[in-house]
Amino acid sequence: MSATPEPNLREPTPSDKIEREPLAEVVDAVRRDAQRSPKDYARETIVPEGGE
């Protein structure tokens, strides 16, 4: 028998459903972070020669 675990492919439970408040908090955090040097971020993540 393999020692590899069977992945736990369960159905999303009610707790997996999106809760509005935590999502709003994440959106706020994303908004704040996205305002920090967005141009620099885009420039630093360019793959000039690595693309196909």
Partner: protein, 518 residues
């Protein structure tokens, strides 16, 4: 440096040095892909080991993600500064790269299989001539390089000519920069003619029914599997789809992405150049690797699972004889419209395949339980896209990313940052959603940790992983996907991993062996 740190976390062994490959204890791979002189502008590629079915594929994909993420702090400690890894397919300038999917499937049947094999035999002499020409040109180039080394060394030794030396040697890689383009031209001139014939043979014979049956499925699949991207601040459904230019390429040097990529078959035809005749022989096998280029890197586990699971199922349907699949008159035009917002067409196409899958399951004498689960999940996801897309935040990437961009991005630059940083492993915006319990987890961190050191049990990955462990004390070992070489090329021993392939397929509905790359 990342590879060095990974080697402290799991057992590893080098693959082919020229490709900077590092095989992992679970049979997967990490490699660094950089063209020619652009050594610092490459990509980290991570490939899962060969898996049998979608559950295994997503388990090992998550194990790879977790492993490279675990190696980041150690890498930062060694290098200093800041370092993050993005698992995506498109950067801010529109360069594309990243995910590919590979499925083992029948290359052809009956007369078309005979035609494929006869075509490979007929092309063998053309390939051999190209091989000989390559070696002759390489030998001549070696002489030229030797002469150049002598000249450059002489220039370096003369202090008064230092300025001249700096002028021709601006980035410390004079020979590499100078030779890169001519070498690429020579290689193309020698290999393009036989490869045009090989690609024509591929389009005529290889995966003929499968490509025809899969095409409408693949162009509509981004409605579930698309990662979403901003093109000039306009939202598109899929990162890769915006780069697609053709269904299958006509010659190797063509720019733009193809939906089906025959690259692995072309590489094996070049096997004899590297004295790998077994790779050439493997082209005669009935079952081959179907490579799909139109594939996004998913952050959401639900999307990633559905991507592999539904594709495996549709491949099985076509191999079982599905012929009444939908047809699309202008597939590339339809793909562009779907990516730009024609969701109704995509959903209709997906529903057509879903209905075929349901009929298939009803008529089949026995199908694995996972197939029924896939169909149920596929159906509820399509319903939700149509009627309540916001319930899929955290489950489908394009819906999640679009929501974040619309709610949190004000300026085009901020919106683009959200588009990109969504894909950071561990620290990106999707990772934040996952950490807050806003995205369903199908593979737990503990399961991923175990899978980073244990291979799948019924694929060649098991033999590869065992050899990586057993040959830990042997100095000269080169690991590959198809073989392991112990000792030198001449006089060394080769273990073919194909000999360890479990060829049993438990009837219809069994998911295909697949391998993912991101």
């Amino acid at each position: 440096m990342l590879a060095e740190v990974v080697s402290t976390l799991v057992r590893t062994r080098s693959g082919w040095k020229i490709k900077r490959e590092l095989f992992l204890e679970n049979g997967g791979i990490l490699s660094y892909e950089a063209p020619g002189a652009a050594v610092d502008d490459g990509l980290v590629e991570a490939g899962t080991p060969e898996c049998r079915g979608p559950s295994e594929a997503i388990l090992y994909q998550r194990a790879q993600d977790a492993l490279v993420a675990r190696a980041l702090p150690g890498t930062v400690q060694q290098l200093g500064g800041e370092l993050t890894l993005l698992k995506n397919c498109r950067d801010a300038e529109g360069h594309y790269y990243g995910a590919q999917e590979n499925y083992e499937a029948e290359i052809a049947r009956g007369g078309w299989l005979f035609a494929w094999r006869a075509g490979v035999v007929a092309l063998a002499p053309v390939v051999a001539i190209s091989c000989l020409a390559s070696w002759a040109v390489l030998a001549a180039l070696m002489l030229v390089v030797l002469a150049m080394v002598l000249v450059v060394t002489a220039i370096s030794l003369l202090p008064r000519l230092e300025r001249l030396h700096d002028a021709i040697h601006p980035e410390g890689s004079f020979l590499r920069v100078l030779l890169q383009r001519p070498l690429a031209w020579i290689e193309r001139a020698l290999w393009e003619p036989p490869m045009i014939l090989v690609l024509a043979l591929y389009r005529l014979c290889a995966f003929r029914e499968l490509r025809r049956g899969l095409l409408p499925f693949l162009i509509s699949r981004p409605i579930i599997t698309g990662a979403g991207t901003l093109v000039d601040d306009r939202f598109a459904l899929s990162e890769k789809a915006v780069a697609v230019r053709r269904i299958s390429r006509w010659w190797l040097g063509q720019r733009g992405l193809s939906i089906f990529e025959p690259g692995n078959l072309c590489k094996r035809l070049r096997g004899p150049v590297f004295l790998d005749f077994a790779a050439f022989r493997s082209l005669f096998r009935r079952r081959q690797r179907l490579q799909i280029g139109l594939s996004d890197s998913n952050m959401a586990q639900t999307a990633e699972y559905l991507k592999v699971a539904t594709t495996c199922l549709v491949i099985d349907l076509i191999e079982a004889g599905l012929r009444d699949h939908p047809h699309v008159r202008q597939p590339l035009h339809a793909l562009r419209k779907i990516v730009d917002g024609d969701h109704a067409h995509a959903i209709a196409l997906q529903r057509s395949y879903l209905a075929a899958a349901r009929r298939f399951v009803e008529e089949a004498p026995a199908v694995p339980l996972e197939v029924s689960e896939v169909i149920a999940r596929w159906s509820t996801t399509l319903d939700a896209i149509e009627h309540a897309p916001s319930t899929l935040i955290g489950q489908l990437d394009w819906i999640t990313k679009q929501a974040l961009i619309e709610k949190a991005g004000v300026t085009p630059d901020e919106r683009k940052k959200i588009d990109l940083k969504y894909h950071e492993l561990e620290t990106g915006y999707f990772a934040v959603l996952e950490a807050r319990g806003l995205a369903p987890i199908l593979v737990t961190p503990e399961e991923a940790q175990i899978a980073s050191v244990e291979p799948p049990s019924t694929t060649p990955a098991r033999a590869r992983a065992r050899l990586i462990r057993d040959l830990a004390d042997v100095a000269k070992v080169t690991i590959g996907w198809d073989r392991v070489q112990i000792g030198g090329r001449i006089g060394g021993k080769v273990i073919r991993l194909d000999d360890h392939r479990d060829t049993s397929r438990a009837g219809t509905g069994t998911p295909s062996t697949s391998r993912a790359k991101s």
